[in-house]
Each structure stands twice: as C-alpha cells, then as structure tokens.
Amino acid sequence: MSTSSGTPESWISSFCSLLGHEYFAEVSEEFIEDDFNLTGLQNQVAMYKEALEMILDVEPEEDEEEDDEEEEDEEDISGDARDGPGRERRHHSRVASDLSVIESSAEMLYGLIHQRFICSRAGIQQMSEKYELGHFGVCPRTNCNQTRTLPVGLSDIPGEDTVKLFCPSCLDVYVPPNSRFQTVDGAFFGRTFGALFLLTFPEYDLSRSGAEAASSLARTGEDQAMINGMYPKNIAPGLGRNKIYEPKIYGFRVSEVADSGPRMQWLRDKPDDLAILDEARNFAEEHDAESDDEDDDDEGMTNTGRHGTKRQYNSVIRQKQGRNGTAMEVDANGAGSEL
C-alpha cells in the first residue's frame, strides 16, 4: 500500500493510481485472501486463479507446491495441453496474449472484489477518507452548492453502465464531469455503496461543500432525533423551499399552466416539516383516530398545494401503508444499524 521509495509498487496500488481510477479504494490483501469474500467470483472471470495471483503480486511458481487442489488440477490440465512439457515456460514467460487476458481478468476481478470491499467495514472506512479528501468530486447542480458526491453503479453486473456520482444532497445521480471516468465500470462500485455510506456515517454534515473540510453534525451541535434513520438536517439538504429553480421572464414567474411552464419542481421538492415523512410514527399516532376525515383528503391535498399540513398528508400515507405499519425498507439485513 505504501509506495515509499525502494519497494516496488504493488499491482493494486498501481491499478488505483491509473488515470481514471481515482475513485477506487485499495482493497486490502487481507480481504482478498479471505475466500469467503470471493464466493461466486470464480465463474465470473476468465483465468481466475492467474488473475488473483496477479492482483496479489504472487509469483506463479510459488503456489505450485501449495494448497488449492481442485483449482490446481484444472489448471494443470489446460496448462499441459497448451504448453506440453514446458511447465517452466508456462510460468516464467507466459505468452503475451495470455498475459493480456490475465491482465484484463485481473482488472475485472479487482473491480468485482472492490464492489464488495467498499461495502465492508474496512472498505467503507477507506472510502470515507477519500470522501473527506474530496476524491469523488462535487455535485454539478447549482442548488447543491458543491456538495461532495459518491461513486456508484446503476447495476451490480459488469458491462452494463459506467460509474456515476450520487449526490446525497439532492439524492440524484450524475455523469462524472471528466470523460476519463466514462470507461470505468459502474459495477465496480455497485448499487449499494452510496446508500450504505449514508446509513453508515449518519454524522457527516452532508450540506458542506467540497471546498470546506468535512465535518460531523455532532460537532456542529446538532443533536436532533433521527427521522427514518437519518438526521433531519441530512435528509436531502439540497432540496425544498428556496432550493428549487423558479423560471422567470423579466421577473415574473412562469405559470404552471403555460405549455412551457414548470413541471418538474416536485423532483427538487421537500416538505418544510420533515416530520411528515416519519410515516411509521405518524401511522402509529394516527392509528386510533378513525377515518372520519378520509373523504375530504383529496380535496385537502389539492387545496393546500405543496406544503400541505402534516395531518392531510398522513392520511394519504396511512392509505399507502396498507397493512404494513412500519415500512422499514432498509432493515432487511440490518445493514443500517450494524456498522
């Protein structure tokens, strides 16, 4: 990991220092050496064993005498078939085409391990350090005031889409500004990391801009109760009143009814009172008060517009909730609370 003088750079550090690889964390050897963490990856890359050796900077001949029986047998057969008796040759000077296959397999394998690593305790910690240092850039949206973003994939399957940036301030995803990131596979970051990061580090003040030092809400004296697992101040700080773009013509707001009028403001909207969003609590609170107000709900919502009162919204939510009062989407595997 340390690239200090003398020691040759490891495959992992040199991979991470390539242009366009700035978002990658350096996966620890410890993580890679734990077979459990690699479950299922054997079938996903060609020449898996060689690729793994390359990532770990293992000299191929060394492990010849060592463990891993089943793997070994398989390799031997294919190896012998290709190279005949030249075992030495196979290890010491792999054919160039083999090498490039192994190299690209190693990159794929590293990416897939990386997807898992950054969701592990050590990995997400390392990513938080990169986040603090502003390695992932900032949100391009004007009203997000240069909030730091997080690299994410829109798919966990490699080859489908490139890496994107998730902004915790507007909860939207953006194309990285520099084209060098447009060749980096999004699956190497995966769909889970961005959201898991927010749940793992609820204390970060998400409204801080990338130019400022990252700071925690605790330090700013914020000790409010959480809503739905997040501090209210961190629920989409870039959205809501005064954070929605209002188109105007010579100072006059463009009407919603105009053909070219605003239609997307809901996307950047947020209730003034975030307690409205605490569906579980509101449901419990309102559960006894029976449904005598149900009929005029629709009217109520329409008339009060975007900042309808808590009560009116709650009754809508109550209907939405159906039989599931808690709606704890995230607690399925306890990922939120355990870290």
């Binding site: 734990d34 459990f36 963490n37 479950t39 997807q115 898992r116 592990s120 949206r141 004007t142 009203n143 829109l154 798919s155 966990d156 489908e160 889409d161 998730f166 909860l171 995803v173 953006y174 500004p177 995966g190 769909r191 889970t192 959201a195 809503i227 739905n228 697992g229 629920i235 959205l239 773009y245 188109p247 105007k248 013509i249 010579y250 919603e256 009814v257 105009a258 053909d259 070219s260 239609r263 997307m264 809901w266 996307l267 950047r268 969003l277 629709d298 919502m301 329409t302 975007r306 919204y313 809508v316 209907q319 159906g322 599931n324 704890m328 989407e329 399925a332 990922a335 355990e338 870290l339």
Partner: protein, 286 residues
C-alpha cells in the same frame, strides 16, 4: 488580448465579433448582427453601464481608429467585451438572437445535462441575475428544469448577466414544440436491493406533489408534458399505493430496468438479477 490586432484588417465585417465569439471560453456567445448593434433603441441605458462606451462600441463594430497607448487600448477592449455581453443578453431574447441560440442548442454547444436520467439532454446558458458582476453563468436543462454549473472553469467565470434570467423561458415560450417530454424516472438509493427508508419516504411525498400537479393541470385541460406514468392520473392515490411490499419491490425492479436501459445498457434482462444481490452481501458487512 490574444492575437487581436496583429492580423491584417482585411475582413471588415464583424472582425472584432468574429474574434470574440471564436475565442476560447466564449463558446456560449452567438454573434450579434450589425443591424441590431447599430439600432440605438436596443442599447438604451447601456451607455452609463460601460466605461468609454462609444470607443467600446466602435471597437465592436470595427470602426475604432483612436490612436492610444496599450493601457488605454486594454481598458477599451475590456469595456467592449463587457458591452458585448450586455447587448448579448438583450439580443438573444430577440427573434434573430433566439434563432441563433437555438442552432447552438441543437448542436449542444452549451454542453449536456449531467443528470443521468436526462440522457444527455442539451443545456442552455442562463444567468441567475440580470445585474452584471453578481453571479456567473449557469446551465439550464429543459428536461429536469434545473440549473447546473458549467464543467469547465473557463466558463464558470463568465458573467451570467450576459445571458440573463429570462432567455431560456422565452425560447420555449416562442418554440413550445421544443419543450422536451418530461419524465418521472428517477434514481432510487438502495442497499442490497432494498430502498432506503428516508429517501423512499421523500420520494412518496414528492410523488404525491406531482400527482396533485397533474390533477390540477388535467382539470384545466393543460397537457402536463409527461409521457410516462399515466397512473398518476388514472388511479386515485390509494389504488396506486395499496400494494404489498413484494409488488413494490417488483415495481422497483422494473423501474430499475428502465433506468439501465436508458443509460445505454444493452442487456436489460440483466436488471432482473439484483435480487441475487445476496451474493454481494459477502462483503463482510453482516
């Protein structure tokens, strides 16, 4: 200023303006007609905004012939650029100016929306203020109706007042057929396939706000411009939402599939795999 003045002044039409709009960093500007520039009505009030107004105007219209030192020349040059910007803000709201900016918009000269769900929709420059020296230029996306910072620092320092607050709204008012279809597609943060509660609750609230808007528009018989999500209107809220967790997850998957497909992925079928994200739990979180 670059190599202005070192070339021969053979091409007398719009020599200075040609140079100006083709200078690096000035890609957002279009060329203002001679005709517009010489109509004093269009310039009302600008003479007090700009130092050495007449010299600056002479420079812009290529009739500048004052013999002066370099320092003076530089001051006038600076004034000319400022004056050009101020006239530009007015010009692009005129019929001719709109046409020129429209051409640039169609070529995506102003860049493309960075928002993934906007599918690289071309942007338009805008100012957040009409008063000069207050706010740098921003970019407006007509698809998500939001504003973004220019990618390049050489654009980030241009005065937003040179484009003005009204231009893009006027453009779409004049050319309503160019208003892009609106979409409800959006990013939904997930952890191992499950939505994050705080974000999901906000999304539900936003959906109700959107549903209200669409009902309001329908009542007034105005086209909402959405090409998707007819259920926003056809069903009452409760019908739409009275679905159990499992179905909700299915719907997410479909949405997700759509997102990936639009993101340029070839294999949309792969999107149905995420339930197998169980694999990915090996990360050692549990």
């Amino acid at each position: 200023m670059d190599d202005y003045g070192t070339e021969s002044d053979s091409d007398y039409t719009s020599y200075w303006r040609d140079w100006f709009i083709s200078s690096r960093g000035n890609e957002y500007f279009c060329e203002i007609d001679e005709e517009y520039l010489t109509d004093r009505f269009n310039l009302t009030g600008l003479n007090t905004e700009v130092q050495y107004y007449q010299y600056a105007m002479d420079l812009i219209t290529d009739v500048f012939d004052l013999d002066c030192d370099d320092e003076m020349r530089e001051t006038i040059e600076k004034s000319a650029r400022h004056l050009y910007g101020l006239v530009h803000a007015r010009y692009i709201a005129s019929t001719r100016g709109l046409t020129k900016m429209l051409e640039k918009y169609k070529k995506a000269d102003f860049g493309k929306c960075p928002r993934v769900m906007c599918n690289s929709h071309p942007l338009l420059p805008l100012g957040l203020s009409d008063i000069p020296n207050l706010k740098p230029v921003k970019l407006y996306c007509a698809r998500c109706e939001d504003t973004y910072n220019p990618k390049s620092s050489r654009h980030a320092s241009i005065d937003g007042a040179y484009f003005g607050t009204s231009f893009h709204s006027i453009l779409f008012q004049v050319y309503p057929t160019l208003v892009p279809a609106k979409s409800q597609e959006r990013y939904v943060p997930r952890v191992y396939g499950f939505k994050v509660h705080a974000a999901a609750a906000l999304v539900r609230w936003q959906n109700s706000v959107r549903g209200d808007m669409r009902r309001r528009l329908r009542k007034m018989e105005v086209d909402s411009g959405f090409k998707d999500g007819e259920d926003d209107l056809e069903d009452e809220d409760e019908d739409e939402e009275e679905i159990d967790e499992e179905e909700e997850l299915q719907m997410q998957l479909q949405q997700h599939q759509l997102v990936e497909y639009r993101g340029g992925a070839t294999a949309a079928t792969g999107a149905l795999v995420p339930v197998a994200a169980g694999d990915a739990q090996m990360g050692g979180v549990a």
